[in-house]
Symmetry: D2
Subunit: 260 residues, 4 copies
């Protein structure tokens, strides 16, 4: 069985900035998709902001097991309807991998419920990601740490909820630290935030980063379908697991739907 | 120092339904406020849906330490602007206590990032809340369990994130269970979800329920002010904790704000 | 690749009590092993208390991926050396599934760090396990709840640490609740506590319970080997990731081992 | 009400090593106790390894609200009986603050259930502790980070369970990171692990470190007494919250204690 994977990218910097274009001539999504698509169990395609519905129609999302998200300067251009649609699919079981500046993507903030703010500096400094949870499936195949010679700095405090698991913590040359790999569950969906990926450095060409992304796709894949996860069904008295009789006053008539 | 506490209520059922009016002639908020206001360290006031800005102006929220939220049939009438304002204040450090049917309140879904769905039945059945974390400040002064002779049933699965702490779990006469007391942190703010409180039963008149609410107000109170919690400040190279020199290409000009 | 699985049982009640013997003539371990062994990916064997080293020699444990543990009246007869050996292997990556009265097994208390105490009643009452986290791999293939017509009651508070995930919560006929399925990570090893299994009822013959056990074995299996997980290696100055020079006073001579 | 606080120190290096003696002529415990004792709400005393029962008799522990623990070279000399006694008191509600090399103290390993291993280097390098959870009571009164000019390095992976909260993360000059402030609950007791404190540097003289210690004492203080936390009481049929009749076979006779 293959994991149907979509790599989403706003695809803006690569078309506007020559430095970025040199590194990612076909876009960041193309490089990530190529890295994932080498694996027999991953069936990968891409989607970008300027496609109709940003390439994320309901039918497309319904046929997606894991979505990767790269966005930066165009967060505000992502339609709220698509954001809700993606969040709904995560709740139903789709995995989501949020990359780098995606910390401020609408859909990440929507799923975290927090500001997702941080400190930052663009100085091409050295970053070293330490695998804090070395037994985690996401870090298999990489060493104790991953070193990136040039990276944008993200510094704590990172305003996200306490994670399910802290997988990576980054050290920066300039003196800061950052929780760079964090896992969450929201509804039936698994979420992995992965920090590296600034567009002016060739980070997604790094073999260890690619290994982490492949691991993350497999970890985020949950072969569970829960289409009505957001429903709040009434359990009538006659269908209660234990025999009971209704007592006291009621607000609802029998068969009435709940308020929402 | 007193904890500036606001009890918010949509205040609809009490004006429309004679059963509810008999139990809460001045509204659910009035009974809760009276229970909290007996304490010297809690300074309590109330707010309702039909006040201007639902009684939750920016100035009012800025002067609020802990907000309690009761809503049910009018979730959809709460303005999105007020929801964002409340969420922002939670991020900045305001405590939030979400009551009963508030599981579907816009602001709770906003802060959880999940559907917050559940199963339900209105049969006046018996509920028993077990204090799972008996050492938690929220359960002090109540026994091993709280018994409610008549309650609406809420059943698992409850679609919220794994909590920081599970404080109460409910047993229902009809055969279901529910995580009835859960804690979270979002930004600097502490959140407590507390299940009991159906409007057709006198639950907020129960002395043990009132004790839990008072404990929860004190627990949720965090004397921290973080007004710019959502900001993502740049840390210029010259202000890096360690001396570094900028290397490689940059996307941003010096002094430019980040994208969001 | 198969998951090398060992089912451990103290194997006492089945030999001493006719009621238990009727249900488990060859021991609880035999029934569990048969249920697991039907699967092509699980390679199962058993071990019992009165074997040399309780059947858990270092060589045997080193060749074990997942260990299931059933104990009750003989907790005190398990040698401390074997307990440490099992705990060490969990830290190195072996999965551990602790069953029912194993909550008081030395190795479970050793790995939790808490009393693992609870309330109990042996009245053959009805139990219903609700799948709180319906998207979890451990609950796939079973319905929203599992009903056991006769069970020993375990009641909260259950003195374990906040779990990584709450998977099942039980409802009991007599009015109590219990967190019946909990996950943990200790070192590189995954741990699942699963409540059902009282020896006077045919609980491990139940097909849904058997499905949960098979799921749990697969979930607990972590193909990671970390034999030196407990070591605290020195990182000499010359091997620091960044070039540094030693400053200030030192307690240790170069090459000296740390204290423990 | 004052918080009855005991600072425990093995008190070995200070008597054997002139560098350490110069920094802590009366012992590390004396400096910490002086820092805590300036506060009106903290009533502080000290205890050391070579006192009878290491200064931690049952009576002393029963009258202790919060215990701080500094040990390094003498972990192996701490009696197992005292370790169990301290762990039992934590379960009953006593707070515990474990300092620096206490990561390998018997009582910390006992309460964590993990190896508590890490990487280390004694090079007097610079450490910067970032307050990851800036809203936490333990970090109030200190800046975004605490800088220590000379520190022993501790590096990840740190083999402890996922914490309740990650409070501090350290950056080291030599290139490593470490989760330097972590909270846990074990039984009714709150535990804070705090990394800084190497004996060859004057770290406990640092005013910000002292502020953290004072905050931690107040956070760890839980005015709850649960002396029988480890008991597993039987709930007889006649005292079940719901009326039930015993069904099926039983292993235990009425009134019998459970196995352990």
């Amino acid at each position: 069985m293959t994991i149907r994977t979509v790599v989403w990218n706003e695809f803006a910097h690569e078309r506007e900035n020559p430095v970025v274009r040199d590194i990612y001539p076909d876009g960041i999504h193309a490089v990530i998709a190529a890295a994932l698509g080498r694996e027999a169990d991953i069936d990968v395609s891409t989607a970008t902001l300027d496609e109709p519905e940003h390439g994320l129609s309901q039918a497309r999302l319904d046929a997606t097991d894991v979505l990767l998200w790269w966005g930066h300067k165009s967060h505000g251009d992502v339609s709220d309807a698509v954001v809700e649609r993606v969040a709904d699919r995560v709740h139903q079981g789709m995995g989501l991998i949020v990359l780098h500046s995606g910390h401020f993507a609408k859909v990440f903030k929507r799923l975290m419920g927090t500001p997702c703010s941080l400190r930052w500096r663009e100085a091409g400094e050295r970053e070293r990601l330490w695998a804090v949870n070395r037994a985690h499936p996401i870090v298999q195949g990489v060493g104790p740490s991953i070193e990136l010679p040039n990276a944008e700095m993200y510094g704590e405090p990172f305003l996200v909820p306490e994670p399910l698991e802290t997988v990576f913590i980054s050290w920066f040359e300039g003196g800061e630290v950052f929780r760079s790999g964090l896992t969450y569950q929201r509804g039936a969906g698994r979420i992995f935030y992965f920090r590296p990926g600034h567009e002016t450095y060739p980070i997604y060409h790094n073999p260890e980063i690619q290994t982490v992304l492949r691991n993350a796709v497999r970890w985020a894949y949950n072969p569970v379908a829960w289409p009505d996860v957001a429903e709040a069904p009434n359990v009538p008295v006659a269908e209660a697991p234990e025999t009971i009789e209704a007592k006291g006053a009621s607000l609802h008539q029998a068969g009435e739907a709940g308020f929402r």
